[in-house]
Amino acid sequence: MNKKDSKIKKPYERPERELLKMDISKCTGCRSCEIACSFHHHKNFGLTNSSIKIFRDNKDGKIEYFFNDTCDLCENEKIPLCVTACSPEALCMKK
């Protein structure tokens, strides 16, 4: 793997999707939102096909997050699955 291949392509856009709100001070970096998102889109469990992406710095725990434009706020769900899956309640819907 060379640098060019492995460099993260960042299709992710900031800030959050219009109706989703993230409080990074609460985020524990567990990536449950990514897993839930993968399930929503593809009915499987992984990290690559998610609309949300979490990066955790292993030194100080600082969190970076990105949404991409595939997020549809989980059509057909009452609440987006990432919000339901977020145990520390870092992700929520804007009121």
């Binding site: 567990c30 990536r31 096909n49 100080d60 145990s87």
Partner: protein, 638 residues
């Protein structure tokens, strides 16, 4: 079968050869992770070889639930021949590495041989290469991860590595994941060092498929809901395992000279860490517990330290047992061990032994490179940790681990080496909680409470009714009674073997006072894989795993009943103070407990070895054959 990748990756470092093999036959029989690892080790690593021989294998494993939406599904198992005990070592670590390995397409990763020069392994989906590691050899664990991530400008790859301790073949060396998660037991860092393997870097993009995705997801969500209602979840969120500490909580003091730290415990409670140093709560992969935490020390002697940790073992090992009631010092020791790649249980057992030997004048400054090992001396403790990692001076002796060092020093110092099957222990309540002690003493990896020790003794909500309903043991919550405790250990050791093989964290389960029990895991497994399994079937697999591990120990070292006793100190010196003053392990009661334990296992009571009948019932005929060949199988009379 769904839930698995169906492949294992095999790396022969001597021949620089990379290959894959189907993993299904192993997964079907032993679930995954620890179970598959034990089976591969038994079949492919001769009990006669040295653990540092290139023929030893490092068997990393995920489980079917790893990387899925099941709670805490980020666990990685490691099985190898144990550098400390000489038998089997299994370890289990969290973080984010295991799911990534699975997404890269592999259920298991098996490493054999020895590279000619230091190397690291790069797994990028299906593309695998063995790369030169000269640029990271000699670096600590934290530097190694940073250098690798910067080299690839990729923060999304997961890194597992050894530190200087593993490179220098310290028997106290572990393997670190994501800087602060450890595969600790059995000196496995030294096995990796002996293979000239510095690190494994993985990135994967293939998701895990479920047999019935909707139904599996529903079951996962139910599990999360159950955890929200659990007492254990609330406690772990409050402060990780440190939240249990209070002046009445049994803690070892000065190398177990006492079992109660009294009011000093208040100085290292979770609220103190939180108030002074905590910056953030943190969780492993897909875990709702967030039992970990990040700390930052702004002032004082350790100003500038930023780290993740610490759990109760750190507080026991570097706090009460070294008799230092300073949370900053505990963080400093814990993070130094993480950086250098040292197993904190073995390190603390070794340090505590050395400090007591100095107190008893068995060791003097002539032995210790001029260092004065007086209780409470923080600088000396930190200096020794560093010396152990680099095998520098007196550290070269300590790097053999507590029993190895005591053997070298002699002079009656063995009396103060607190170990089981050669493995240093870092435990509280061993004189008080009978099943806790029995689980440690009979653990197949040599010591440690994460094998058969239950966490129910002394816990308020484990009433006789709860104990009976969950484990068939009404006394499960009563610490000091011996009654029912063998049965309780037999239950928990099977449960743990299953959990380690499924690829999830033990903390989500009954063990840590959470509401997920074997029926819940059976449902998760069935819905994920499409293969219906029940609690009894899972437990039978658990029992098989334990019997393979036991047999490997018997074949390697000949461990028998005599090796299932706690150190003499716990039978001769009662707790000196506190609410459990006067408690100790009564030898006669222990003998009865062992008799009961072996009987429940179907093993021979006199020798503690396995019987032909037990292995036939478990359909472990090759295990039986090997033991018979070695003359270490007990024939039962029909």
């Amino acid at each position: 079968m769904k839930g698995y990748t169906g492949k294992m990756l095999r790396i022969d470092l001597s021949a620089n050869k990379i290959s894959t093999a189907p993993s299904a036959p192993y997964n079907e029989n032993f679930i995954g992770g620890r179970g598959v690892g034990a089976s591969i080790l038994f079949n492919h690593v001769s009990p006669e070889i040295s653990p540092l021989d290139p023929k030893n294998l490092l068997i990393f494993g995920t489980g079917p639930l790893t990387g899925t939406a099941a709670p805490s599904s980020g666990r990685l198992s490691l099985v190898t021949k144990n550098v400390v005990s000489g038998g089997i070592a299994y370890s289990n670590g969290g973080g984010y590495f295991a799911p990534e390995l699975k997404y890269a397409g592999y259920d298991h990763l098996i490493i054999s041989g020895k590279a000619h020069n230091p190397v690291y392994l790069l797994i990028n989906n299906g593309k695998v290469s063995i790369e030169d590691a000269s640029f990271i050899w000699g670096k600590d664990v934290w530097e190694t991860e940073d250098i690798i991530k910067n080299r690839f400008i990729d923060q999304d790859m997961q890194v597992l590595s050894i530190g200087p301790a593993g490179e220098n073949l310290s028997k106290t060396a572990c393997i670190m994941i994501n800087k602060a998660r450890a595969l600790g037991f059995g000196g496995c860092g030294a096995v990796m060092g002996a293979k000239n393997l510095k690190a494994i870097v993985v990135k994967g993009e293939k998701p895990v498929e479920a047999s019935d995705p909707d139904s599996f997801m529903e079951e996962c969500q139910n599990s999360f809901k159950k955890m929200e209602k659990s007492i254990g979840t609330a406690l772990l969120r409050q402060g990780g395992t440190i939240a249990k500490i209070n002046p009445k909580f049994p803690l070892p003091v000065r190398n177990y000279q006492d079992g109660n730290w009294g009011e000093k415990a208040l100085k290292v409670k979770e609220n103190v860490f939180k108030k002074l140093y905590e910056t953030k709560r943190s969780a492993c992969f897909n875990c709702p517990l967030s039992c970990s935490h990040f700390y930052s020390i702004k002032d004082g002697k350790y100003a500038g330290l930023e780290c993740e940790g610490v759990q109760i073992n750190g507080v026991r090992g570097f706090g009460s047992n070294l008799d230092v009631a300073d949370p900053a010092f505990i963080l400093a020791c814990n993070s130094l061990c993480n950086k250098l790649g040292l197993h904190i249980d073995e390190i603390s057992a070794t340090l505590c032994w050395a400090f007591e030997c100095f107190e008893k004048k068995i060791l003097t400054t002539k032995d210790t490179d001029g260092l004065e090992l007086n209780w409470g001396n923080q600088d000396v403790a930190l200096k020794l940790i560093e010396k152990i990692a680099y095998r520098n001076g007196f550290g070269d002796i300590l790097a053999e681990g507590v029993s190895g060092a005591a053997k070298i020093v002699g002079r009656n110092s063995q009396k103060y080496a607190m170990s089981i099957k050669g493995t240093g222990i870092n435990e509280g309540g061993i004189r008080i909680k009978r099943a806790w002690a029995l689980g440690i003493a009979t653990s197949t990896r040599g010591g440690g409470h994460l094998c058969g020790s239950p966490n129910s003794e002394g816990v308020k909500n484990i009433t006789p009714e709860v104990g009976r309903a969950r484990y068939g043991v009404p006394t499960a919550g009563n610490p000091v009674t011996y009654e029912g405790k063998a049965k309780l250990v037999v239950w928990f050791e099977k449960f743990k073997a299953v959990i380690d093989s499924l690829g999830v964290c033990y903390f989500t389960s009954y063990w840590q006072n959470n509401l997920l029990g074997p029926d819940d895991y059976a449902k998760l497994y069935s819905k994920l894989t499409g293969r219906t399994i029940n609690k009894e079937q899972l437990f039978k697999i658990g029992e098989k795993i334990l019997n393979i591990e036991k047999a490997y120990n018997t074949l390697s070292i000949g461990y028998n009943r005599e090796d299932d006793y706690p150190p003499e100190r716990f039978m001769n010196e009662p707790v000196k103070s506190g609410p459990f003053k006067g408690e100790y392990i009564d030898k006669n009661s222990w003998n009865k407990l062992l008799d009961e334990y072996y009987s429940l296992k179907g093993w021979d009571v006199k020798s503690g070895w396995q019987t032909d009948k037990c292995l036939e019932d478990l359909e472990l005929l090759e295990v039986k054959r090997q033991l018979e060949k070695a003359g270490r199988l007990i024939k039962t009379d029909e």
